[in-house]
Amino acid sequence: MDYLWSFIIGGAICTIGQVLLSKTNLNPGRILVLFVTGGVILGAVGVYKPIAELGKAGATVPLTGFGYALYQGAFEGVDKSGLLGAFTGPVSSTAGGIAGAVVFGYLIAVLFNPNTKK
């Protein structure tokens, strides 16, 4: 059941991105910024929580989910450490993803070579 909902919600979020990509002149970089920031804001106003609970990975795998994780980190940080927590929270909660991105990004780039598209 989780799998079905992650497909449904995840696909839907990606499709919103596709509409933006095809119909506006926004480039992928700008769309991703929109999505991650959107995830933060929707999380903060409480809209993303039910989507995340229903869609499971369908809501956390898209970049909006990354934004959601950042927001959660910020709120938990503030709850724990006050104003300082607003700064320490977001990065702490997404530490795994960020460290993974740096490390794997670097390793794979060192080990593999780019190819002209066939």
């Binding site: 002149n25 992928p28 780019p114 190819n115 002209t116 598209k117």
Partner: protein
């Protein structure tokens, strides 16, 4: 006849023969219907070099070497090398010039470089300033993507109007003396930079079409020729959309262009549906002109062509700052007796 006709066209009273012509292409281009016409082709995108930039340099050099060999002269006999490419600081041309040791004029006309270099070369020869001038240009998909667009392995789809930079290099040797069967450059019309406000860097055809239209119309107006005079009107890389726009623009002025039209960008990737609007890059027109057209003109298949190379003079910086794309088109008339 006066050398300078009206505003933009010059007439070469002395003979300017194309005695040497070289073309180097990559695998995709070799696999096209034009494939057998190119002099040299290589398979993988590095051609044994350590970087794509070094590969492009190798292509540029090889094209020049082939052209010089056909002309029967060595680099020492070449008076000038006029070359350009798409890369920052035109390093393919500049570093190749370092190897060749020919007095060098580096030019930047984006994809109009082949026509621009030949036009300037013809002026040097006709003006009595040189006996032999080498004109060359190159482009490579990987080097252009890296500089102008996105990383090679980035998983974003190409837009419907996008073009694929051709892996190609072309070189011509222009000489004061030549056998009668060599094609001659008879007229050259220099374009001016036009900008109709197209901002999409993936839609260069639309940005360049007006420039092509104006240069072609100016050329016909100033030489008094009709468009049907030429066996082929050859554009460098307008692509499918750009060509369609060119036909409409010329039609508005009562000129019917579609009958004898040939776009190197469309033709070089004709069989490949993945290429959206077709090929682009200075090497596109450069390799097809020196590979297919010059050889066919010597064989007699074509007697008169108008080679119109168009260039989009944008940079990632200008695009980043929200600027639109200025474009230019240069035309040279090549004829055999």
């Amino acid at each position: 006849m006066d050398k300078k006709i009206k505003k933009a066209t010059v007439f070469f009273a002395e003979s300017v023969y194309i005695t040497g012509f070289g073309s180097v292409v990559g695998k995709k281009e070799k696999d096209s219907w034009l494939g057998s016409w190119f002099d040299v082709a290589f398979d993988e995108d590095l051609w044994g070099e350590k970087s794509w930039e070094k590969c492009e340099r190798k292509m540029f050099l090889r094209a020049v070497e082939v052209a010089l060999a056909k002309a029967g002269i060595t680099e020492k006999k070449a008076d000038y090398l006029i070359g350009g490419d798409l890369l920052n600081q035109i390093i393919s041309a500049g570093f190749s010039a370092r190897e060749l040791g020919i007095p060098f004029f580096g030019i930047y006309g984006a994809c109009s470089s082949m026509a621009e270099s030949m036009m300037l070369g013809a002026m040097l020869v006709d003006g009595g300033f040189a006996n032999n001038v080498v004109c060359a240009t190159s482009s490579h998909f990987a080097t252009a993507e890296r500089q102008f667009r996105s990383p090679l392995e980035l998983g974003t789809p190409k837009t419907t109007t996008a073009q694929w930079t051709v892996v190609g290099a072309g070189a011509s040797v222009l000489s004061k003396q030549g056998e009668p069967f060599y094609p001659k450059i008879t007229y050259a019309t220099t374009g001016r930079v036009l900008d109709f406000g197209i901002k999409d860097a993936n839609n260069m055809g639309a940005a360049m079409a007006p420039a092509a239209a104006e240069t072609i119309m100016l050329h016909l107006e100033e030489t008094g020729r009709d468009i049907s005079y030429y066996d082929k009107i050859v554009t460098g890389d307008l692509g499918k959309l750009g060509a369609g726009i060119l036909f409409d623009l010329l039609n508005n002025e009562g000129i019917r262009a579609c009958d004898n039209y040939f776009d190197c960008g469309i033709e070089i990737y004709k069989e490949n549906n993945d290429m959206h609007c077709g090929g682009s890059g200075c090497g596109c027109g450069g390799s097809v002109l020196n590979g297919y057209f010059i050889k066919n003109m010597i064989e007699g298949t074509y007697k008169k062509i108008l080679f119109v190379a168009t260039g989009a003079l944008l940079s990632p910086t200008s695009t980043g700052q929200g600027e639109s794309i200025p474009a230019i088109a240069h035309a040279i008339a090549i004829e055999t007796e």
